[in-house]
């Protein structure tokens, strides 16, 4: 990429008249960049297209094919039944809303002292949290199952919600703290002078100012929960308690020949909520990926 383009982040419409002449080399380089990027994009797109096309194709197989004459909503009609779609979706919703709610409330409370006060335990605590964001949850599923057997929590929604919330906590605390750091301290100091407690300032001053950030964390957490397969797969047993992430796996395993079109249709229905949430979130997410500044202290 030996480029000499005139496109800088601060480029104005007048860039053409900039001090550097726009030569043929620049034009070629820009074209190469665009083509390479587009080719990579297509490589990401092709596997994705199958699920969309197959969902609307009554004769869908494993091959990527335009539905054409096979176009129909039959696949959706076939899977939109209580046991295939509605109940697993509802179960998933209960699990995700419950665990997201717990995770956000607990993370906000935890983020407040981490963002506002300086103590000697803060840095080790934050480092532990950073470590835990990447902790292979898969590795502790066996002991967690053992713990759940001891506590009689296997196959309970409550236990699963509590554990799922905990797995989301490190990341939520981390993101919450980052967003909270963005709320200036001066407003709170005024409130403290007036005699407000720290919890009062959190509720009446900090939270209203960080709603955008908090909604990012909430949606982010929810998306993570919605797609989670292993936790409910291990901790829940009754078919009527399984969320969509697990039932999609077991339901289609029970039949000799897989109805690929129906599997695709169900996949589309199951994916739709996270796509919608992600679209709502996408414009605000930039700040969440700035891990570099996260450990400044």
């Amino acid at each position: 990429m030996t480029t000499e383009t005139s496109t800088t982040p601060t480029a104005t419409p007048l860039a053409v008249t900039s001090h550097r002449p726009v030569g043929p080399r620049t034009w070629v380089a820009t074209a190469v960049v665009n083509v390479v990027t587009a080719v990579l994009g297509v490589m990401f797109l092709v596997p994705l297209l199958w699920v969309v096309f197959a969902a609307f194709d009554a004769r869908a197989g494993l091959k990527l094919e335009w539905p054409g004459t096979g176009f129909s909503f039959d696949n959706f009609r076939a899977v939109l039944t209580p046991e295939t779609t509605y109940r697993p979706m509802w179960n998933g919703l209960v699990l995700c809303v419950g665990s997201t709610f717990i995770a956000i409330v607990v993370a906000t409370l935890a983020a407040y002292p981490l963002s506002r006060f300086e103590t000697r335990y803060k840095r080790p605590f934050l480092l532990t949290i950073l470590f835990s964001t990447g902790l292979p949850i898969t590795a502790i599923m066996v002991p967690v199952y053992g713990l759940f057997v001891q506590l009689n929590l296997v196959d309970t929604i409550g236990g699963t919600v509590a554990f799922m919330a905990t797995t989301a906590l490190p990341m939520s605390i981390f993101l919450c703290k980052n967003f909270m750091d963005g709320v200036p301290l001066t407003l709170e100091e005024a409130a403290w002078t007036d005699g407000a407690s720290s919890m009062q300032t959190l509720r009446h001053i900090v939270l209203p100012l960080m709603w955008p950030g908090l909604s990012v964390v909430t949606i982010f957490t929810f998306i993570g929960m919605w797609g989670n397969f292993f936790i409910p797969f291990v901790l829940l047993l009754s078919p009527d308690r399984l969320p969509a992430s697990v039932s999609i796996f077991t339901f289609f395993g029970q039949y000799g020949s897989v109805q690929w079109g129906q599997l695709a249709a169900y996949s589309v229905l199951y994916t739709l909520p996270v796509v919608v949430l992600y679209v709502l979130l996408s414009r605000r997410l930039g700040g969440a990926f700035n891990f570099g500044g996260a450990l400044k202290g």
């Binding site: 990027t37 092709v46 905990t166 919605w226 992430s245 450990l295």
Partner: protein, 306 residues
């Protein structure tokens, strides 16, 4: 960016660093309690239990189910002596290095760099597609890639004309699941690098350009050093995430054919839940945690040295 801060050393202006009496520390840390309790009960607790149970013969059925006994290093001796375990350690390392360290990391950085210079419409469309692959649930991604790589799937349809068609999930299962994981996980690295690149002041790159540095030299000597901290943090996060991938591989191959794509999480699942050997399964879990720990320590070292 915290490129200049260094753990351990004083960082930036120490505005509010005063030493408080311990009592103030405790009062202020009170809102942390629910988080600490949950993390202790459901994360630290199981990890400690992991350390204990790995040395016992805990089992759901058979000898260890009635009375659990301390068996010392038997589980580890059995694991390190077993071919299946060695196989899964190698596969885990192949999967992690191929799909995370190389695949997601390099492709994510490349996409972020390309996007910076690409036309807006290309940038937006490619961004949406890559993120789309990341957003969809793990199991759905597994089915997508199963369909894509199957014998009568899309890939063979495309390259079949070249006579290269084969059942990829049977011939190259670990490569197949690695590809799927690159596809699924690259968006995360791309977003992380997008954020990091956008914080590099334009003047610095322009100055290097004025000095006649070519694209490659600029990347090596200006861009990469400036985002080094982000690279390390990103590598740590994606390595640990990839080490524990289960659903994707389980939907695509179930670890097969045979044990050709049975990474540590799948081996652990099979031993603990299919064969009910909880003690042995926990020993494997402990190895998995240790592998993650080793990777973390290496990355933390790198972070400290920059």
């Amino acid at each position: 960016m915290a490129t200049l801060t260094r753990p351990g050393a004083p960082s930036g202006p120490q505005l509010r660093r005063r030493t408080h009496p311990v009592r103030v520390d405790i009062a202020r840390a009170l809102p942390l309690t629910p988080a600490v309790v949950l993390l202790l009960v459901f994360l630290a607790g199981p990890i400690l239990w992991c350390v204990y149970a790995a040395f016992t013969n805990t089992a759901l059925t058979g000898a260890g189910s009635g009375d659990t006994q301390f068996v010392g290093l038997d589980n580890f001796r059995a694991a390190f002596g077993s071919e299946a375990f060695g196989n899964s350690v190698v596969l885990t390392l192949v999967f992690t290095i191929l799909s995370a360290v190389v695949g997601q990391n390099v492709l994510g950085l490349a996409l972020a760099l390309l996007q910076k210079r690409a036309a807006k419409v290309v940038r937006t469309l490619v961004g949406i597609t890559v993120i789309g692959a990341w957003v969809i649930p793990e199991v759905v991604a597994g089915y997508l890639w199963y369909a894509f790589l199957a014998k009568d799937g899309t890939l063979n349809e495309v390259i079949g004309v070249l006579g290269l068609g084969q059942n990829w999930l049977y011939t190259l299962p670990i490569i197949a699941v690695s590809l799927a994981n690159v596809w699924r996980g690259t968006a995360f690295s791309m977003l992380v690098y997008n954020a990091a690149l956008s914080e590099i002041p334009a003047e610095i790159e322009e100055a290097a350009e004025m000095d006649g540095a070519t694209g490659w030299a600029r990347l090596r000597h200006v861009t990469i050093p400036m985002i080094k901290r982000t690279v390390t943090t990103n590598l740590m996060l994606i390595t640990l995430q990839t080490l524990s991938v289960f659903g994707l591989i389980y939907t695509m191959t179930k670890g097969g054919p045979g044990t050709k794509s049975q990474t540590l999480p799948l081996y652990m699942y099979e031993q603990a839940f299919s064969f009910s050997q909880i003690g042995y399964g926990t020993a494997i879990a402990l190895v998995l945690l240790a592998v993650g720990g080793v990777f973390s320590i290496v990355y933390m070292r790198l972070l400290r040295e920059d």
